[in-house]
Symmetry: C2
């Protein structure tokens, strides 16, 4: 430890290691970053010096000098929801294998907050962004394009991604589930989820509407919920649904969390699922298959989406992948007991 610049304590630097090992700082740097370029004896000497001094490589200085931060930023609507945790893990796992660190920030489903958050993260000079969603403010888009940082958008689809895309058609997926419910014989299918929040929610609602329209089932019935990510919210909606006349014979939910909340609430108020009312969700979350009755859902490859997005991003950063790359992820309609399907049967789609 030395004293420098007005008395602030500084840690061990590469220079210190170099002195101990009897080489130049550059050689130490090479041992750490391109060990094959260094003679084996010297390498051993340097490694010993590193151990002896307790040197900890300084990535801040490295980032500044090399213009590479080794950080990828992950922007998502919320960190506190089970909906995205698997995608986070997918990104995080890939990041780790490439010796890159992931930094996360949440937007609370607000494009304005997203703009702020991205601007804040840009100050860290991340090597790339994975962003959940394709709907951004004009300024956000301009900011990202000007910065020249690779971006992979995901969890939604668009023909005009900022850079690259790991897509998911929320519209198609929810429409397919609606059709599956129709095929199961349900005729008064209601939908929970607002059309006024984020684009993913909107597209799912539109998919439901399209499914209803094509089946010629009359006017769609869309119910809103204030909070779209809590079981409590599902419970509250279930009470409203139970009071409707005529009561819907199926309730399709924006996601599995709402669906589970509704399903359990129906049961508690004495309604049989699916006898009195069927319930279906979206997302394929883990707990869905464990509920009694097990919950029908649209299974989407959450972990794989995160993985794929991170891999694509790392390709873009390395320059091996071209801009404009797109990869559409599929979905699976999983009909279980909550819609009258049998437990083990899992229909396949897309």
């Amino acid at each position: 430890m030395r004293q420098k610049r007005g008395g602030r304590a500084a840690g061990v630097t590469m220079e210190d290691v170099a002195r101990v090992a009897g080489v130049s700082a550059m050689t130490v740097s090479r041992v750490l970053r391109q060990p094959t370029l260094v003679n084996a004896d010297l390498k051993a000497k340097v490694e010993a010096a590193i151990r002896e001094t307790g040197y900890i490589y300084n990535l801040v200085a490295s980032s500044l000098a090399s213009q590479r931060s080794g950080i990828i930023a992950l922007i998502l609507p919320t960190v506190a929801s089970s909906i995205f945790t698997d995608s986070v893990k997918g990104v995080s796992d890939v990041a780790r294998t490439h010796a890159v660190q992931m930094i996360m920030a949440e937007t609370n489903y607000s494009p304005a907050e997203e703009e702020k958050v991205i601007e804040a993260l840009l100050r860290r000079r991340p090597d790339g962004f994975v962003i959940v969603g394709v709907s951004h403010t004009r300024a956000t888009r301009a900011l990202l394009e000007k910065s020249g940082v690779p971006v992979v958008e995901t969890w939604d689809s668009t023909p005009t991604p900022i850079d690259s895309l790991v897509g998911l058609s929320n519209f198609d997926a929810m429409k397919a589930m609606t059709e599956a419910l129709v095929a199961q014989g349900f005729r008064r299918i209601a939908f929970v989820g607002t059309a006024t929040r984020d684009r993913r929610a909107q597209m799912r609602a539109k998919g439901y509407e399209a499914g209803i329209a094509e089946a010629g089932l009359g006017a769609p019935l869309i119910l809103n919920a204030d909070d779209l990510t809590s079981m409590e919210s599902g419970r509250i909606v279930a009470e409203r649904v139970a009071a409707l006349h005529p009561r819907p014979d199926a309730l399709l939910c924006l996601n599995d969390v709402l669906a589970a909340g509704a399903l359990l609430a129906f049961q508690r108020m004495g309604l049989a699922v699916p006898g009195d009312i069927a319930v279906a969700g979206f997302g394929g979350l883990d707990f869905s298959s464990h509920l009694n009755p097990s919950l029908s859902t649209v299974d989407i490859p959450r972990y794989e989406m995160g993985q794929r997005a991170a891999e694509m991003l790392i390709g873009r950063i390395a320059g091996t992948a071209a801009q404009g790359g797109t990869c559409e992820m599929g979905y699976r309609i999983v009909l279980r007991e909550s819609t009258g399907g049998s437990r083990p049967a899992e229909a396949q789609a897309s």
Copy 2:
């Protein structure tokens, strides 16, 4: 944009902004960091120049020059589990209000991985660490102590924290739940969760054992599960429990996820909960109160623990809090239908 150093493109720098505004770079820096020191006219001019040039502050350079990264690191066992998401949010929310960024890494419940992860993060020179758990390798402890970075440990208790602690007594909490079950009249209480994973799991198992021993209920019965964070694992354990002779009259689980998996599995195999077997969990997760029957649990202030830990850490970083600070968080025994308690009644403890 200028070309520098062999042709790499560089973005707009503070120097560029300064030139446009007709001031020195130092003044631009002051406008951004200590605006009160700068004359209002100049400030306006600089702000205009920033907008005009599209300048984005470079925190990498700032971190290097100021020896402050503005990053706090959060180390937790896993990012993919609902158990910690609320704590993550607590840390993240506090970090945001202090204009600090949070960087997260997971250890997979392994002290060896924790050591690697902490060493990797130390390279980014974070201003502080929040670490879930108090059990670390000797090397980890030495590393953190030598680095001099403030550390707040949480989600467990110890008289000898590395630096500061936001504590939770897993032993006391699980013992209290065991006693509550005994008070409810259960006599053959089994426990699920391994005593061989992390210290938090161990302490909970020990709390259960102590509760059983003090009640004079004979030998404790501890069942292991391979995976301690999935409902599927709870289901598998439930099958083993159902086959026991005599069958336990209550199953106490390491956490709510296991408990929910077990509860739903018991129901599916035709066992009444709590009639044939009671179930209780730990963690106070959101979904517990929604299950039918609602799940008894030990509610712990997950979000607040994250908040408190982050606040304490920021105090340590600012130098306003002393080393060795400790703050013990409480817990609440919540008895619900799954142990024969009535739904609204929520007993209070600690």
